[in-house]
Chain length 155, copies 3
């Protein structure tokens, strides 16, 4: 069986540092084997917000998918920090994706597939999660997408 | 004590098949005694999306309530699949309802009551849950409502 | 170490009664050591909704922060009811803040800091939580903010 860390390398990815929130909250909290991540924005490794704007007007679906993928990578980085390493992540349980979209937008699932596909690319069957994808009228810093996740981690 | 399966029959309802998502996610994930469902849309038994549109413009409150009830039935179907039967559901823990609504809409609780009432109709006291009801600027496929839930299930 | 109840008194605050929802749901549900609260609106002790309106138009950020703080106090009241007292709350695990905002709003984190800061003021390190802050196109009763939380409680 391929380890998640090996799969990450095969994909040519590396985990960014788990972003430190700038307010009175934290990037992850662990309770038993559950890890809740904070909502992650599409910041790249340099801390630059990728593709801000409203999906359906400023940002097209392919670009928003790439941003959702980046959010998912940041979620995984938080969970890996909580678990002392990505290979201690047992399962992706739940993903919630908020798409900064116009009132007539209806392709939220396509956007959040960018996050879900990365989870499965990295964790295989253990990456398959329950998911909700919804529209937000606005998001922090005008991000085009925000993703949060709940993980199960090993002892 | 009436079983949930008996109550379902008394209500003249039957569980739809737990809908298979079309993307890289699943309809439910179980972790210990917790079950997270994916966000459910108001698909009927034939897979037809009921009452698409924006509540307050295209869809009235009574129609949106019926759609929320359908979402809840789909959530229960997912949890029943996770638990090997509806009678193994121990408690509805949390319901989150997203209403596709105009900026001036304020009756989200009335809409999501369609989901909550069904939970209590079927499970009695065990159906009473913590709940959040919020507005979404848009939802997948222009659904008028989306509901996700967390359940506790028996061993 | 200062107890949460002592800190509450030092801050000149007192817990409101845990608000009883008017529909078929409850203010909190406990499952093992987890407590899920219902989404809380900025009702004050008299049951008056504070500062309704849309942030960025009707409500400024400082006012919305105060409303978010009130939502957080109401979340804590629910968790304290679940735990048989605020001093049995072990950790704030997750906070989700929905800001009733215009499409061009981008300062959701500043608004939800009103909730997060209160959690840390009262619980210290145990108050630091994972958090998501997102925009809602509308909220129940035209509230400017809604906050829900997940807590860990002691036996």
């Amino acid at each position: 069986m391929t380890l998640a860390s090996e799969r990450l390398a095969e994909l040519g990815l590396r985990l960014p540092p788990a972003a430190a929130p700038v307010a009175n909250y934290v990037g992850w909290v662990r309770h038993g084997h559950l890890v809740f991540t904070a909502g992650q924005l599409p910041f790249d490794e340099n801390g630059t917000l990728q593709s801000p704007g409203k999906v359906g007007v400023d940002v097209d679906i392919a670009t928003a998918q790439a941003a959702a993928r980046l959010c998912a990578l940041n979620c995984i980085a938080q969970a890996a920090a909580a678990a002392n390493g990505i290979d201690n992540i047992a399962r992706v349980l739940k993903v919630t994706g908020f798409v900064n979209a116009t009132p007539d937008f209806r392709d939220h699932p396509a956007v959040i597939n960018g996050a879900s596909d990365l989870m499965v690319d990295i964790f295989g069957e253990a990456g398959r999660h329950a998911r909700a994808a919804v529209g937000a009228s606005s998001l922090p810093l005008n991000a085009c997408v925000e993703v949060e996740a709940v993980f199960a981690v090993r002892e």
